[in-house]
Symmetry: C2
DNA sequence: TAAACAAGTTTATAAAATAAACCAAATATT
DNA sequence: AATATTTGGTTTATTTTATAAACTTGTTTA
């Protein structure tokens, strides 16, 4: 019997966000937006969900005078991602 | 920029169905149901979607006197699955 | 100084997933 | 022999989720 997939990660945009953050020290809203091609609204919502789940850390500050939202993956997020990949491998027969 | 994931396959239950069918000649409704743990209603709906997309073939007949729904993956379904796996690998950094 | 732009957030809408209710036929129960 | 239960589903309703549209706040630029 296949294990359930973490619903928080099994979402195209949220998975893309985490996937980006896994590879870098940190990334800001604008960068993630251009990398994913998401609308600002959708991205804002999904970042919120990941943060509330404790998968990412979000720091809202300013770069000069413009607002800047920086995201980082957390330890818990990294673990959840690793677990998600393991589970998914069974679905993908890998 | 990450490619979009086939929304038909990027669904836990539909992915599970296709994953099962990839490995076997054919499988019936009851088997898929016990393997996935899905409710009959949900399974019925998702099988329908996969069939309408041409990813699977569905044959409704009888085994003895009881109805029996047999599913098989199609060539197109196999291709879509392979493509989905390739795309997903980029998200999973593999 | 008003128009356009940047970086988001909030709210509304569309689409999905899921569950609940239902159906028809078969088998088991009293 | 009637009735209850189970099997194998489908249909419809509800909930959840994803997405987009509209709005906000402050900033440049014309």
């Amino acid at each position: 019997m296949l294990k359930p997939l973490d619903p928080l990660l099994h979402s195209e945009l949220r998975l893309a966000i985490v996937s980006i953050l896994i590879g870098v020290e940190e990334a800001d809203f604008v960068y993630i937006r251009t990398e994913t091609g998401a609308t600002a609204g959708n991205l804002s919502v999904q970042i919120d969900k990941l943060q509330k789940a404790g998968y990412i850390e979000v720091e809202k500050g300013f770069r000069g005078k413009m607002p800047r939202t920086v995201c980082r993956i957390t330890h818990s997020g990294r673990e959840a991602f690793a677990q998600y990949v393991e589970t998914l491998k069974e679905y993908l027969k890998m």
